[in-house]
C-alpha cells in the first residue's frame, strides 16, 4: 500500500473494538476506536477516515443514526454496518440509505478480509484515478525483478501496460527466466492487488487431485470433511490465478478449464450451489503452445482464450549486461538471509560469470552465487567457488578449430545471430565473422 487506509471502529463492546483494532493493525491500516456514536462524531470533526465500521446496536445513538449524521456531514467515508443475525433487516435498510455494506457478527475471517479489501480497492482506485491524470504509472513491488537491460525494460513496460487490464496473459520463457516473478509483478500492479494471487503448479497435480484443488469441496462432501474447503478459483475471487506449466494439463482438464474460464462459475465437490468467482488468469509455460495446437496436444479454443497478451521473458544470454547487477542482488540477498557481512566479488570473476552459458538462466546464476557464499571464505567470491571452470577443463582435449567453432556459435546464439553485436563481442570485423560462419558451416538453431 502506498498510502495507508484509515479505519474508525465504533462499537460499545470493548472486546469487539480491541479484536478489530488488532486485526486491522496487523494489516497495516491506521486505526482509531470510538465506544459510541457521539464519540465517533466528535473524532470525525477533526479527522477523516476512509472506512467507518459501526455497530448497529449501541446505547444512545444507534449505527443507523450515526450513518445518517455522517452522510449529512458530507464525509467521503465508506460506512460498513456490523450487525447480529436479529438485526439483518435493519442493516438492509442501512444499505438502502447508502451504507457500503453490512457484515454479520461473528465474522468469518475471510468475509471480513474480503469486505475490507473491496473497500480499500475502491478507495485506492479513486485516488489512483486522480494520480493517473498527472503522472505515468510506475511499477510497485518489482524488487525481485532485477535488471536494466533493454530486454528487461521492454518486459517491464509490457507488464506496466497489461497490469491495468483484465485480459488473460501467457508468459513464455525458458526455465529459470523468472516467469512467476512477472506474474507477481502484473498482479501487484493491477487494480486486483488487494486480493490474492493464487498460484497453481499444474505440472505437480494429478488429474484426480485437480478437481478438489481447483474447485474445493463442501463440508461433509466425504467422510471426515468437517469444514468447507475453498478451491483455487474461489480463493482467487477478486484477484488473479496463476497457472504455471499450463502445457502439462491433460486433455480432460483443458476442457474443464475452458468451461470455467468462459463462465467464471463452478460447483464445489459435494455441493450444488453454483459459485461465481471474478478472477484474472495468467499462465506460464516454457513450451511452444502454438506448436502444441498444431500437433493437436493443446486445444485451439483454450489457446486463443488464454493467449490475449503474450509476454516473452528473455533468457539470460540475451541480457548479459544484467549479470553484474543480478550477482550483486543475490550476494546481498543470501548474505542477509545467512546473517553474514556482504561479501565482495573480484571483477575478473564477474567477467567470467558474464561469459558463462547459463542453461538454467537466472535460477542457475542464483544457485551458483548461493553455493559460492556457502562454501566460500566469507570475504569474497573466488573463481574456485564457482562451478564454471570445469567446463573449460573438460573441453581441453578438443582441437583449436573445434573450440573456435563452439565459441563462435555460442556467442552468435547469445546475440540472437546479430552479426554486428557478435563481431563486436568477439573483437573481429563482420567479414571475419562471416568467414568463420562459412568455414564451420554454422546455422541458427531452429
Amino acid at each position: 500500500m502506498t498510502t495507508k487506509i484509515s479505519i474508525l471502529i465504533v462499537d460499545d463492546e470493548e472486546s469487539v473494538r480491541d479484536s478489530l483494532y488488532n486485526w486491522f493493525i496487523d494489516d497495516g491500516y491506521l486505526v482509531d476506536r470510538a465506544e459510541n456514536a457521539k464519540q465517533a462524531l466528535s473524532i470525525l470533526e477533526s479527522k477523516n477516515f476512509d472506512i467507518i465500521l459501526a455497530d448497529i446496536k449501541m446505547p444512545g445513538m444507534d449505527g443507523m443514526e450515526l450513518h445518517r449524521r455522517i452522510r449529512s456531514l458530507n464525509k467521503d467515508s465508506i460506512v460498513i454496518i456490523m450487525t447480529a443475525f436479529a438485526s439483518v433487516a435493519t442493516a438492509v435498510q442501512a444499505l438502502k440509505d447508502g451504507a457500503y455494506d453490512y457484515i454479520t457478527k461473528p465474522f468469518d475471517p475471510d468475509d471480513l478480509s474480503h469486505l475490507i479489501r473491496n473497500a480499500a480497492s475502491q478507495i485506492s482506485l479513486k485516488s489512483e484515478n486522480e494520480a493517473l491524470r498527472n503522472k505515468v504509472v510506475s511499477l510497485e513491488n518489482v524488487e525481485d525483478i532485477i535488471g536494466n537491460s533493454q530486454a528487461m525494460i521492454k518486459v517491464l513496460k509490457e507488464v506496466e501496460k497489461v497490469a491495468q487490464s483484465n485480459s488473460p496473459v501467457i508468459i513464455t520463457g525458458e526455465s529459470g527466466t523468472g516467469k512467476e516473478l512477472i506474474a507477481k509483478a502484473i498482479h501487484s500492479n493491477s487494480p486486483r492487488k488487494y486480493f490474492p494471487l493464487v498460484s497453481v503448479h499444474c505440472g505437480a497435480l494429478t488429474e484426480s487431485l485437480l478437481e478438489s484443488e481447483l474447485f474445493g469441496h463442501e463440508k461433509g462432501a466425504f467422510t471426515g470433511a468437517m469444514f468447507n474447503r475453498k478451491g483455487r478459483f474461489e480463493m482467487a475471487d477478486g484477484g488473479t490465478i496463476f497457472l504455471d506449466e499450463i502445457a502439462t494439463i491433460s486433455a480432460k482438464m483443458q476442457v474443464e478449464l475452458l468451461r470455467v474460464l468462459e463462465s467464471k462459475t463452478f460447483v464445489r465437490v459435494g455441493g450444488n450451489k453454483e459459485i461465481t468467482s471474478d478472477f484474472r488468469v495468467i499462465c506460464a509455460t516454457n513450451k511452444d503452445l502454438k506448436k502444441m495446437v498444431e500437433n493437436g496436444t493443446f486445444r485451439e479454443d483454450l489457446f486463443y482464450r488464454l493467449n490475449v497478451v503474450n509476454i516473452i521473458v528473455p533468457p539470460l544470454r540475451e541480457r548479459i549486461e544484467d549479470i553484474p547487477i543480478l550477482v550483486n542482488y543475490f550476494i546481498n540477498k543470501y548474505c542477509t538471509s545467512m546473517s553474514r557481512d556482504i561479501i565482495a566479488i573480484d571483477p575478473g570473476v564477474l567477467k567470467r560469470l558474464g561469459e558463462y552459458d547459463y542453461q538454467g538462466n537466472v535460477r542457475e546464476l542464483e544457485n551458483m552465487i548461493e553455493r559460492a557464499i556457502v562454501i566460500g571464505n566469507d570475504k569474497e567470491i573466488r573463481l574456485k567457488d564457482l562451478p564454471i571452470e570445469k567446463n573449460i577443463i573438460s573441453n581441453s582435449i578438443e582441437s583449436l578449430d573445434d573450440l573456435e567453432k563452439k565459441h563462435v556459435l555460442q556467442i552468435l546464439n547469445r546475440y540472437n545471430w546479430n552479426i554486428s553485436r557478435t563481431a563486436k563481442a568477439l573483437k573481429v570485423d563482420r567479414v571475419t565473422l562471416y568467414n568463420k560462419i562459412k568455414k564451420y558451416g554454422l546455422e541458427p538453431s531452429k
Binding site: M1, E13, S15, V16, D18, S19, L20, N22, W23, I25, D26, D27, G28, K105, P106, F107, D108, P109, D110, L112, S113, N141, E143, D144, K184, H187, S188, K193, P196, L197, V198, S199, H217, A221, F222, T223, G224, A225, M226, F227, R229, K230, R232, M235, K333, T336, S337, S339
Partner: protein
C-alpha cells in the same frame, strides 16, 4: 537469561519431535535461541459452550501472564479450536509489538477437510502460523507479497500458498526491529 530468545509453550499432547522441528524452523527465521516448555492449564476455563470453541483472547492473556523475562517472546501452542468474539475462528493471534502470541493446529490438519493425513504439511503449516504470529510481536504487519510468511491467511489453503520464510523486505524490517529492541534493553 539476558539474551533475547523465544519460548514455545505447548498445551496438550504434542510429540517432542514435532515441537523440536517447529523450534528449528522458528530459530532459523529469527536467528534466536528457541526453548520449549510444557504447560498444563485448565482449558475448561477458556471453553465457550455456546461457540464450542476456546477463547483466544483469554488464552493470550493467560500466556502473557506466565512469568518470564521481558526480553523473551512467548507463543502458546494449542490443539483446540480457537475463536475471538468477533471472528468465527482464528489460526493464531499475537499482541502487536508485544511479547506474546498463540497458535493452534486444530484447523490446520488435513483430516478436518476430509483430506488424507499429512504430517509434513501439518508441520509446515503450523510453523508458518507460529512464525507469522511471532512476526507480529516484533512489529511486522501483514505483507502484500504473496509468498511472504507475513501474508495474511484466512483459509488453510492461503497458508499453503505462502513460503515459510520472510520476504527480503520483511526480513530487513525484522532485523531493524530486533536491533532497536537490543539497543532498548541494553540502555535499560
Amino acid at each position: 537469561m539476558n539474551k533475547q530468545s523465544i519460548l514455545l509453550i505447548s498445551h496438550g499432547l504434542f510429540e517432542k519431535d514435532f515441537l523440536e522441528k517447529i523450534a528449528t524452523e522458528v530459530a532459523r527465521e529469527f536467528l534466536l535461541a528457541v526453548n520449549i516448555e510444557e504447560s498444563h492449564i485448565d482449558m475448561s476455563e477458556f471453553y465457550d459452550p455456546n461457540r464450542r470453541q476456546y477463547d483466544g483472547n483469554k488464552l493470550l492473556i493467560e500466556i502473557d501472564s506466565m512469568p518470564s523475562s521481558e526480553i523473551v517472546k512467548k507463543v502458546g501452542l494449542f490443539r483446540v479450536d480457537l475463536f475471538i468474539p468477533i471472528l468465527t475462528y482464528i489460526f493464531g493471534q499475537a499482541a502487536f509489538k508485544g511479547s506474546t502470541g498463540i497458535a493452534s493446529l486444530y484447523r490446520l490438519r488435513n483430516e478436518q477437510y476430509g483430506m488424507k493425513k499429512d504430517d509434513t504439511l501439518l508441520l509446515n503449516r503450523f510453523a508458518k502460523v507460529v512464525i507469522h504470529e511471532l512476526g507480529h510481536t516484533f512489529g511486522l504487519i501483514h505483507c502484500h507479497i504473496p509468498t511472504c510468511v507475513m501474508r495474511s491467511s484466512t483459509y488453510v489453503e492461503d497458508i499453503d500458498q505462502k513460503d515459510i520464510h520472510f520476504c527480503l523486505r520483511c526480513q530487513t524490517e525484522l532485523k531493524r526491529k530486533q536491533m532497536e529492541r537490543k539497543k532498548y534493553y541494553k540502555g535499560k
